[in-house]
């Protein structure tokens, strides 16, 4: 008999970007003003949340603990009787003030995120000239002088990446290796299937080859097949599509 997987109780806790995000959530939940945080309560809840995270074996970044320490410090300051004030300036300082300021500041920027997403989506609805050649995303041209050799490398790796994530991407773990022999076999089958129509060179390389390794392999296979005179390659004019024909059909097409 199979062991049943034990369903874990679903803890419906949102994911927090950081300590400020969590703190803001707690403050908002209590519908209190940021400037008037019930520090004892919030600190307790904050610590409880960290504990629940630990129990679920989630790695917590140090920032969460720094915030916990800060909250505890504020809490202790709030609980201690106010020291006899020597000066007027000292007297009015609320220990929560700094954290309140940070929360207000953080909230403003957090609120900008959906607005920026909206702008981002709106702009993505515009297409510019030659967009087909840009692939995924339009980018402003780069000025010579600001372009480093490293940007060439990143441009190349982006293209290779794109070739890697074609429409027919295999989602299973990629461990298959297209050997040269296999690639030749595959390519020859394609060429034969197309018969006297011929196979367009780019289609041959991109149709079946999804990873750049596959593309290189198919390209290698084509070279090898040419060398062994298994196929014939023709191009009607400069920049015209390069066609691959099976040599077996050479006689057949001449009959017509």
């Amino acid at each position: 008999m199979k062991l049943m997987a034990v369903a874990l109780p679903i803890l419906n806790l949102p994911v927090f970007e950081g300590p400020l995000d969590l703190l803001l959530h707690l403050v908002r939940e209590h519908k209190v003003e940021i400037a008037d945080i019930p520090i004892v309560l919030i600190t307790e809840q904050y610590l409880a949340y960290l504990q629940s995270m630990e129990e679920r074996n989630l790695t917590l970044a140090g920032e969460f603990f720094v915030m916990a320490a800060t909250l505890l410090e504020i809490k202790s300051k709030m609980l201690l009787p106010a020291p006899p004030s020597d000066s007027d300036e000292d007297a009015g300082v609320d220990p929560r003030e700094e954290i309140a300021q940070r929360l207000i500041d953080y909230e403003r920027f957090k609120a900008l995120v959906p607005l920026m997403q909206e702008l981002e989506l709106d702009r993505a609805r515009l297409f510019f000239r030659g967009q087909g050649a840009y692939g995924d995303e339009y980018e402003l041209p780069v000025e010579f002088g600001t372009v480093s050799a490293a940007s060439l490398l990143s441009a190349l790796s982006k293209v290779l990446e794109r070739a890697d994530t074609g429409d027919h991407q295999i989602t299973s773990v990629r461990r298959h290796r297209l050997t040269l022999r296999l690639a030749m076999h595959k390519l020859l089958a394609c060429v034969k299937e197309n018969g006297s129509d011929g196979l367009v060179f780019e289609d041959a390389l991109l149709e079946s080859g999804q990873t750049h390794l596959d593309i290189v392999m198919l390209f290698l296979a084509l070279l090898e097949m040419l060398r062994q005179a298994m196929v014939r390659v023709e191009q009607a004019a400069v920049f015209a599509p390069i066609m691959i024909y099976s040599q077996d059909l050479a006689g057949g097409s001449a009959v017509q």
């Binding site: 970007e17 300021q101 609805r125 515009l126 402003l140 994530t165």
Partner: protein
């Protein structure tokens, strides 16, 4: 002039700057800007498949929003464009409104380490190394690029939503608190 500008907008494939055109054609920049604005109005009136938009300090020809889905279908782009993540947008918003700004300053607002997202933003050319701050350690100050403006469909930084917007649905107390806080921050 207007016909030439229309032709140039078409072939340029990038935002065109009135000042640059004026220099090359030896006319006054204001005349160029005026003709461009007129052309922009004509395209709006004509209501065809194209429009002229103001982007990254320039004028650029683009398709109209309502055709986005069909154009995408016809172009069959090789994969979905990557959108920026929320943390990246958060960091970018801070750079946009506080620029030039250091990583430490971004981190102090966000409360989390931000060098990773900043690297992404640099790679995507949303920000660049503007200068160095004149403090010990001379940390790098980051600012937004023209690519940033273009990516978000903005002409200038002034087109960014006002930082006050978020109060629209808050109550007056909240506004008061934040104004108070803003006063404190700017001190």
């Amino acid at each position: 002039m207007k016909e030439l500008l229309e032709a140039y907008l078409f072939v340029a494939g990038e935002p065109v700057m009135p000042a640059e055109i004026a220099k090359t054609m030896q006319v006054h920049p204001d005349d160029v800007a005026e003709a461009l604005n007129e052309l922009m109005g004509e395209y709006r009136t004509r209501d065809g498949g194209l429009q002229i938009v103001r982007l990254a300090h320039g004028y650029q020809m683009a398709t109209r929003e309502e055709h986005a889905e069909d154009i995408a279908k016809l172009l069959d782009p090789p994969g979905k464009a990557n959108r920026l993540s929320k943390p990246a947008l958060e960091a970018l918003a801070i750079v946009a409104y506080r620029q030039p700004v250091t990583v430490a300053e971004i981190e102090s607002v966000r409360g989390v380490a931000s060098d990773g997202v900043l690297r992404t933003l640099l790679e995507k050319k949303m920000v660049y190394e503007h200068s160095r701050k004149a403090v010990p350690g001379r940390p790098i100050l980051y600012a937004t690029t023209p690519d940033f403006l273009h990516y978000f469909g903005l002409d200038t930084l002034g087109d960014l939503p006002s930082l006050d917007f978020e109060l629209s649905d808050e109550d007056v107390t909240a506004r008061h608190v934040i104004e108070q806080a803003a006063g404190l921050i700017s001190e």
